[in-house]
């Protein structure tokens, strides 16, 4: 790592003030950022450690509302029984991080804002991995783990384990910045960069993700991850679903794919296809098929379309309590 300075603010205001300075970067669990610095992929002048900032960690379950501080570790969240009882799918998403060390270090905010694992990005070719002639190294190279829903030249996938579920639930992100607090849907944290140097999140300088809030009452949700290894491994594909309705009749369905696109991919058509319908093997299969509509796989990731279809179907079955496997 190149040399950098370090500050450990005690309050959100201090943290925001420190982060306003160009070259300052927030340090949460460190499990991603330190790797980026070691690989010289990102550079910082100062790390602003959030570990000691008051008010950023903790979990509240209040009726149907679940509030999670950004600096809450994944393990703390996993160990909070009321939270898991209110949202059982959280356990699946957290357990998908199959390393106790990462669960102890990694935070909810860090999970949501971790940088893509794209191996071109991680080798210094940039998030868009454009060759000198402007062509895509990803498209011409090895893209087995890349997006099946690329957005322009953004062909990486977002790796967050929690984001698909939170987006499916319609959760809100709470962001603090120089102008105070703002709230936005979790999916609005993300964007697909289209020019070199752009990031894949929408936080402005000085802004800090403070936490997330989700209404978990009255819906059934589930996460299904396709992972090659049971031990620590990135999912090849994730699907999260949240269903509202009565009995087997669906009023509202949100189906979100992870590891499929530069941001959590809200498969709108798939959700819409279930609205007003009964949950049956047929409607769920049709929704899963709709989830991959428009997929544009590249030379080496066609299999991920099949994984997305399967993950969506199995997440639906799980949410519906109709798991067969």
């Amino acid at each position: 790592m190149r040399p950098f300075a370090y500050a450990a603010p005690a309050t959100v205001e201090q943290a925001v003030s420190l982060l306003e300075a160009e070259g300052s970067e927030a340090l949460a669990g460190g499990t991603d950022l330190l790797g980026l610095l070691k690989d010289d992929v990102e550079r910082v002048d100062r790390l602003v450690a959030l570990r000691g900032v008051a008010g950023l960690s903790g979990i509240e379950v209040d009726g149907g509302a679940l509030r999670i501080g950004a600096m809450t570790t994944l393990q703390e969240l996993r160990d909070r029984e009321e939270a898991i009882a209110a949202l059982p799918a959280l356990a699946v998403a957290i357990d998908g991080v199959a390393s106790p060390q990462l669960r102890e270090m990694g935070t909810v905010g860090g999970d949501l804002l971790q940088r893509p694992r794209c191996w071109y990005y991680r080798r210094g070719f940039g998030l868009l991995a454009l060759a000198a002639d402007g062509s895509s190294m990803v498209a011409a190279g090895d893209n087995r783990y890349h997006a099946i829903f690329p957005e322009g030249e953004a062909r990486f996938v977002h790796p967050s384990g929690l984001a698909p579920l939170l987006v499916a639930l319609g959760a809100e992100a709470v962001v603090h910045g120089p102008a105070g607090e703002r709230r936005l849907p979790v999916e609005a944290l993300y964007r697909a960069p289209q020019a070199p140097g752009e990031r894949e999140n929408t936080l402005a300088p000085g802004e800090l993700l403070a936490g997330v809030e989700a209404n978990v009452g009255g819906s059934r949700s589930a996460v299904y991850e396709v992972r090659q290894r049971r031990s620590l491994d990135w999912p090849l594909m994730t699907a999260a679903v949240a269903l509202r309705g009565s009995g087997t009749r669906v009023e509202l369905a949100r189906i979100v794919l992870g590891h499929a696109a530069p941001a959590p991919y809200l498969a709108t058509a798939a959700g819409d296809s279930l609205a007003g319908r009964e949950l049956t093997a047929e409607t769920m299969a049709a929704a899963a098929e709709a989830a991959v509509e428009g997929a544009r796989p590249m030379s080496g990731n066609r299999y991920k379309v099949q994984l997305a279809r399967t993950a969506a179907k199995r997440a639906l079955e799980r949410a519906a309590g109709m798991e067969i496997r």
Binding site: P3, R229, S231
Partner: protein
């Protein structure tokens, strides 16, 4: 002429027992100091600048900024202006500095101008390889006529890519000079041979190079030489006048410090109506990086197929040269051969075990395989549970069984061992070998304890230092035979000397005396004896020191083993995810010295085998020429929960033990790829032609698509 042999089975106290490894406590507490743990006073840290391009010419290099940095002690250009670089990761320059961070800062400050040249890294693409060279054709019998007359023929194109050794302790060393004497704490598999290689490069007599490797964190065939970073480390230390630690970063370790060659082949095999193999035709190719690769030994094990034609093409790529990888060439040959034979069995409508049994006369160890196949089948409940290919149960998850067999030599290498008996009864062995994790230290101790009739904690073993008698590099499963032979011979000679001193006191000929259970006594009459301490005291004031040498094959050691493995897998037909549920290994290794350590070797082979069968591969980028997974994130090792349940059966008793000690490190890692591949074919009904068996490849096979990756 002295008689060197192992005790009869009923008189063995140590050989074949299960003592815990001697260095277990220091390893499990973190007290073991590996080469990379050495922190001598004044230590400098070194880092290496490597080339980011797979093929380039150095147009210019400027190290002035690095040299000017505070804390930087030495900057050395390894390959300067004009040099042609042939693989990404090749070493360009090195820096020694007061801290590792400063060394890294300095490496980043070195400016290199490259003229980037075209590269080729897609090993499987033989037809596009610029430097591909055919090795010619070898034919036995009349394959064309045999194929024409055959009852059933299969043709398959199969392969497995290059993969990494991924030693957990990276390659490297700590070098310290004292005047013109060099001490190297090296992570090596070759303590006794390293000094000469350092000496030649550094221009000092080998007698002034000390190599020390008390512990080392894995080699698997990749740590036999000082390597360029070893010489550079010694040069930096010499110039800086201070010790220098230089271990590779993980990405360097994966990229340049060891890979296994790939192997691809288009194979035709045919059988007659009795299910006997009658013809084989293989057109193989593969790469070991820049040097290409030699012929894979095909057909594997069934080398006596009567009509054979073999062709091979070596495919050089712009990747670092491969190194010996645990059982060189065998896992590849095994996968290629056993996959085709399994498909042929299916074509013939035969149970694959039945098919193998019908053809065992084409192997060199028919009796061993027959016996082992029966045991493995019994352990797997094969007869009750094996079903022909195809869907056998409801749901997305299908289950399958697969089998493979393998062979290895494993003859003991050149080895010398000093055994000393002290008048106070202390016994020690000194041997210039190394314990690379297989348990060599413990094995030597057991041979000592066995010979002198002592307990394991009553003997001392010193190894891992080239001041001890020369013993061979640990490769090819040659260590256990080498060190047990030299140790046993030295120990038996030393004991005989002791017995000569003891004989008068016990009023018996020395030849009639034995050392067992901590005593020396007249064979057959334990009451006529004395304690070991008393016996040792009788030698007088000076210790007895004897050197033993492994003279080669004899009653103590031999070579040539067979093994059988069965895999049971579950495959998710909708995701292509393969899970190994169970692995069974039946293995012969002659006389087992330590049953616990022997079993550990086999478990380790199975686990490493699950890794390369399901997860492991080098992924070179066709665009940049760099490895895309030079890390432990996308270079995937099998984890503890990925390997299923493992069962090991070691062959013992007459026909095995009487062959003496034979090496075991390589054999168990040979079959897993083939056995797991066959189990997957059994589960899903089609062959997945390429390892590792990743979801994309499995889904491609199910969709009727071939092609690597």
């Amino acid at each position: 002429m002295a008689d060197y042999s192992w005790p009869e089975a009923d008189r063995r106290a140590q050989i074949g027992a299960r003592p815990a490894r001697l260095d277990g406590p220091v390893k499990s507490t973190g007290f073991a100091k590996y080469p990379s743990d050495q922190n001598p006073p004044g230590l400098l840290a070194a880092r290496i600048l490597t080339c980011p391009h797979a093929h380039a010419r150095i147009a210019g290099i400027d190290v002035s900024a690095a040299e000017a940095m505070p804390g930087v002690r030495v900057v050395q250009v390894i390959q300067g202006e004009g040099a042609e670089i042939q693989w990404a990761g090749d070493e360009i320059a090195a820096v020694a500095a007061e801290t590792e961070d400063i060394a890294r800062d300095a490496v980043r400050a070195i400016r290199v101008d490259y003229e980037v040249l075209p590269h080729f890294v897609t090993e499987e693409d033989r037809d596009r390889a610029p430097g591909a060279s055919a090795a010619g054709e070898r034919t036995e019998g009349d394959p064309d006529a045999a194929f024409a007359a055959a009852h059933r023929t299969v043709e398959r194109t199969l392969g497995m890519p290059q993969m990494a050794h991924m030693c957990l302790e990276p390659h490297g060393q700590v070098c310290s000079w004292d005047g013109d004497e060099l001490e190297v704490h090296a992570s090596t598999q070759a303590v006794s041979t390293l000094a000469g290689q350092f000496a030649t490069e550094l221009g000092v007599p080998a007698s002034q190079v000390r190599i020390r490797t008390e512990y080392m964190g894995g080699g698997f065939g990749s740590k036999f030489s000082p390597d360029r970073w070893g010489i550079v480390g010694a040069e930096l230390a010499r110039e800086a006048g201070a010790p220098v630690k230089l271990f590779l970063e993980r990405d360097q370790e994966v990229t340049v410090a060891g890979s296994r060659p790939s192997a691809f082949a288009c194979i035709r095999a045919a059988a007659d109506e009795q299910g006997k193999l009658v013809a084989w035709d293989s057109d193989s190719w593969g790469s070991g990086g820049l040097p290409g690769t030699g012929q894979t030994p095909l057909p594997y094990v069934f080398s006596r197929v009567p009509n054979r034609r073999l062709r091979h093409t070596s495919v050089p790529t712009n990747l670092a040269g491969s190194r010996a990888w645990r059982a060189p060439n065998h896992p590849q040959a095994c996968f290629l051969t056993m996959s085709v034979l399994d498909d042929l069995a299916d074509e013939l409508g035969l149970d694959p075990i039945d098919f193998l049994e019908r053809n065992l006369d084409l192997t060199g160890r028919a009796d061993t395989y027959r016996e082992e196949l029966a045991i493995a089948a019994e352990m797997a409940s094969w007869k009750e549970r094996w079903q022909p290919r195809g869907r056998t149960r409801e749901g997305a998850v299908q289950r399958g069984l697969g089998v493979s067999i393998h062979t290895w030599g494993g003859r003991g290498h050149s080895s010398n061992c000093d055994v000393t008996v002290h008048p106070d009864g202390a016994v020690e062995a000194r041997i210039g070998s190394q314990d690379i994790g297989t348990g060599t230290r413990t094995i030597v101790g057991q041979v000592l304890a066995e010979t002198f009739g002592l307990e394991l904690d009553q003997v001392k073993v010193s190894l891992g230092d080239n001041v001890y008698p020369q013993s061979g590099p640990s490769g090819g499963s040659s260590t256990v035979g080498g060190v047990t032979a030299s140790t046993r011979r030295a120990a038996q000679d030393a004991l005989r000397e002791v017995l000569v001193h003891v004989a008068p006191r016990l009023e018996a000929e020395p030849e009639r005396l034995v050392a067992e259970g901590g005593r020396v006594f007249v064979d057959g009459d334990p009451s006529r004896g004395i304690s070991w301490r008393e016996a040792a005291a009788s030698i007088g004031g000076a210790p007895i020191g004897v050197q033993g040498r492994n003279p080669g094959p004899g009653r103590l050691i031999s070579s040539g083993v067979g093994g059988v493995q069965i895999a049971e897998v579950e495959v998710d037909m909708e995701t292509g995810v393969v899970q190994v549920e169970r692995m069974i290994a039946v293995q012969d290794c002659g006389l087992i010295v330590n049953r616990r350590l022997a079993e550990s070797q086999v478990y380790g082979g199975l686990i490493m085998g699950v890794g390369y069968a399901l997860y492991e591969e080098w992924i070179p980028d066709p665009v940049s020429g760099r490895l895309l997974n030079a890390d432990m994130e996308f270079y995937k090792l099998a984890g503890l929960v990925d390997v299923g349940s493992l069962e090991v059966h070691m062959m013992t008793g007459p026909g095995y033990e009487d062959r003496g000690v034979i090496g075991l490190g390589e054999p168990p890692v040979i079959s897993p790829g083939a056995a797991i591949g066959n189990a997957v074919a059994n589960a899903i009904g089609v062959r997945v032609p390429y390892l590792p068996l990743t979801p994309d490849r499995v889904l491609d096979a199910l969709a009727g698509r071939g092609g690597p990756a």
